[in-house]
Assembly symmetry: C2
Homo-oligomer: 369 residues x 2
């Protein structure tokens, strides 16, 4: 999870949280996609557009996408984090190619594809460009019907009310009630072919989020109960010896509950620091959190200890000397970006967080990475 | 929870589960009801109708109901379980009194009031009488916007896709996608004044449901994760020494998660038998489950042991000799009603359940009650 959670601060006294109104769970449930979409088709000229991670190009999954009429699959690389300009290009392409607005947008992939699907669905009915809507509750027209189908578990993007995009000026979510998917299909079988490291880093996105929010000062019983369940499931998946199928099922549910726990919670130190790392070096979200989190024993002693056990068990080696050749100016940039994440710091360390988290302290942690 | 869960059997391979699309959690959140309803008011002639448990008549809560224009509060007793005829009377009264369909129906109370609100919202837009819709997916027109606000925790009615009604011929839910609330407000403070026994029995509705579904054969990882969390919260509430406020928060979340776990699960022996008890003697749902459950060590050894600890800790004494003066014909009636709940038995005991659960066996358990 990313800085989307900053939104929690603004409204933590009272939030009317939008939940995904429809969910299917189960291995093989992807095969029901055709019947799920059918009643949403306004007519044969209004296509369903499937945004699919390009790792699936030419695979069996791509063949199972239920294309009819003038539906289209657009394969998209998830190698880089999603950008506002990428959303604008997609929206223009769809508007140009079809005489009618689509009946629906379906995102199939990890956090990147899910976030793109959400943003495209919003921009198809809202004027201007994607960067106009980065922020909180700036979207005023309902988005196109959109469906999220995760093929990797951990980001919580399938259930959140944000889509985090790299804009011309900043990386920031389009946080709105119209962002949330109208339908989610949770088919654990779709996560079968995921690369081990990506599986680990994305799972840790969920794990670290839970540690941060459960140890934060903002929590209430709603988010606590979801966060605790997500954490428990992460522990089962990464510390116990489950069957592959059970492990897939449980990590998918961990991501779901972890995403739900966002409703009334906030992330903390790892996310605040990882954001600096991502901004300066383009480090991707999942691995960035891990790089920072390993050095946060002081703040999350139990969480970090367990994290190290998980690393060992799964023989994952984190990159080293990531910050070795950075200049003073580079450190200052990261420190400034990170210290700007006030709600995260306040959640983690309380109102007086600035007394604990000085620029010098931050630098000393970055230097270890 | 009640036999609403029978529906799970019919579709347990694949279900597109409707979730409550909007939820607010937090003590004091009831005070935001006015602003929540405002955008749903179609115009000043289309009222919001508040169905409120009559224990709140003349209390501070009733004064906090945000009435404007021609809105109306209807106080309703929850002493008896909700009936289809009661729904019909309410719908006719509302149709007669107002020239326009209401903008919304708000149920404030326990399972009875929540179920009535759901059913009234359906019958205002669907022809005929409530009993026409008892069953699965018989409702074809969207219901009126409806809001659920629980004032006692445990039934899961706030999150389920059914409304269980006593009809002319049978007690059965209106199970449909249009049954689910459009909005739920979870304000734990509203459960402050609940009578201890009612608090206990309603909480046990959630607890027993969890034990049955987690020990059942139908479970998948989705329902398991919700059920486990609900069970954990029940244990905290009924076995640990939480503050009053924490206890209210956690029981409200237990009910919520317990209700969610219905999506892909089913209840078992206690519910199947309690149904016979309710049918013959009119025993209310919460206490009926407890009366049966205490004698089910054979099927749920750990669950029953913990239940007895809970009874003791909270000094609740269950009624005795409930079945003492029943005739053979009475026992036969209960046994027949109970054995008819096939999906519950299959979930509890597997496909060969009839070998274990003979009429004689059932009778021997009923005789203990």
């Amino acid at each position: 999870m990313d800085i989307k959670n900053v939104s929690a601060l603004k409204t933590r006294q009272y939030r009317n949280f939008p939940m995904v109104p429809r969910v299917v769970f189960g291995s093989g449930s992807f095969d029901h996609l055709g019947e799920i979409l059918m009643p949403k088709r306004s007519h044969s000229e209004a296509p369903i557009i499937f945004l699919v991670d390009d790792v699936f190009e030419g695979t069996e999954l791509a063949e199972r996408v239920p294309l009819i009429f003038n539906d289209q699959i657009i394969f998209i690389s998830a190698d880089e984090e999603p950008k506002t300009t990428q959303v604008d290009v997609l929206v223009n392409r769809i508007k140009k190619e079809f005489s009618e607005l689509p009946s629906g947008i379906v995102g199939i992939g990890g956090g990147t594809l899910l976030d793109l699907a959400k943003a495209v669905a919003i921009l198809l009915t809202n004027k201007g460009v994607a960067s106009d809507y980065q922020g909180w509750d700036l979207v005023h027209r309902p988005s196109i019907y959109h469906v999220g189908i995760p093929t990797i578990s951990g980001t919580g993007a399938e259930v959140s009310r944000t889509t985090v995009l790299l804009g011309p000026e900043r990386k920031l979510g389009i946080n709105s009630d119209y962002t949330t998917f109208d339908q989610v299909v949770l088919d654990p079988e779709l996560t079968k072919g995921v690369d081990k490291e990506q599986w680990f880093y994305t799972g840790m996105d969920c794990y670290i989020h839970c540690i941060e929010s459960l140890n934060g000062t903002y929590l209430n019983a709603f988010s606590q109960s979801y966060g605790e369940k997500a954490l428990e499931l992460c522990k089962e998946v990464f510390l116990e010896d489950l069957s592959h199928s059970e492990s897939r099922d449980k990590l998918m549910m961990a991501s779901w509950h972890g995403g739900m726990s966002i409703a009334y919670s906030q992330v903390g130190v790892a996310h605040a620091m990882s954001y600096g790392l991502g901004y300066l070096l383009g480090v991707k979200h999942g691995i960035g959190n891990c790089l920072v989190f390993q050095h946060l024993e002081e703040f999350y002693p139990e969480g970090v200890a367990l994290f190290k056990t998980m690393l060992e068990k799964h023989e994952v080696t984190l990159p080293k000397n990531v910050c070795a050749n950075l200049s003073e100016a580079d450190f200052d940039t990261m420190i400034n970006v990170s210290l700007n994440m006030e709600p995260l710091w306040e959640n983690a360390l309380g109102k007086d967080w600035q007394k604990t988290m000085t620029p010098a302290k931050l630098k000393s942690i970055y230097q270890k990475i």
